[in-house]
Amino acid sequence: MSDEAHAFSLDLPADPAYVATARMFGSAIARHFGLGEEAVEDLKLGISEACAVVMREGSGGLVLRVWEQDGGLELEVLGGAGMAEVGLGGSGDARTPQSFARSVAGEVLEALFDEASIDPGTAGGSRVAFSLPSASPSAQD
């Protein structure tokens, strides 16, 4: 397991009830790859924010993918439909609940991870991605 071709993947309905399942899935994989508990907590928060963003922007299902990359982990959440904005903070009307929520989620993701992005997905939905380097001190706990 060393690249995106060997990603772990979880398909979920776009139902908020399943976001906890996505966190558990990501946590188990992170522990499998030896990440420490602090990093696991960051990952759980990242997955939760990503799922919430994707669900707000569409009604389709979502996919969580996790793979090892250069000793760290790469994560992406794909799904949703009807996405109209690009950028972590959202470039649309900041007064709408959706764009406000997205901006807070983006703020959290940017604070937690060096590389985090919210972009249009290839299938017309949205894609939230971030990475955890394995060399972080928390990964050695």
Binding site: P16, V19, E41, S48, E49, A52, A101, V104, E107, A111
Partner: protein
């Protein structure tokens, strides 16, 4: 979620995980309490193992509503994962934050 009176305060004990699924329940409970005349509320997050920004959104909604009544919404939290998301968003400076219910009611 259970609430109880402590002195002039209403203490709302929140447990479990607060995310996009459960945050609306927190928001609804806060709205109920405030609408019911409880304008000095302490939300204890000591039983919360996980909270994301949707949970923070519920707390902010409660804060906004309670301020319309010149009320106070304080938080009790010592759990690191929850403190971290409060800190990232700067909300640790917005809410009165305490280490215990006793400390909150004394303040």
């Amino acid at each position: 979620m259970e609430d109880r009176p402590v002195d002039s305060w209403t203490v709302l004990e929140v447990e479990g995980e607060v995310d996009v699924y459960t945050a609306p329940k927190l928001r609804e409970r806060l709205v109920e309490l405030i609408s019911g005349g409880n304008h000095r509320i302490i939300v204890s997050l000591e039983g919360v193992g996980f909270m994301d920004s949707t949970g923070l959104g519920s707390l902010v909604a409660g804060l906004k509503r309670i301020k319309e009544h010149d009320g106070v919404l304080a938080l009790v939290c010592t759990r690191e994962p929850v403190l971290k998301v409060l800190s990232i968003t700067g909300l640790d400076k917005v809410f009165p934050l305490h280490a215990s219910v006793e400390e909150a009611t004394a303040g």
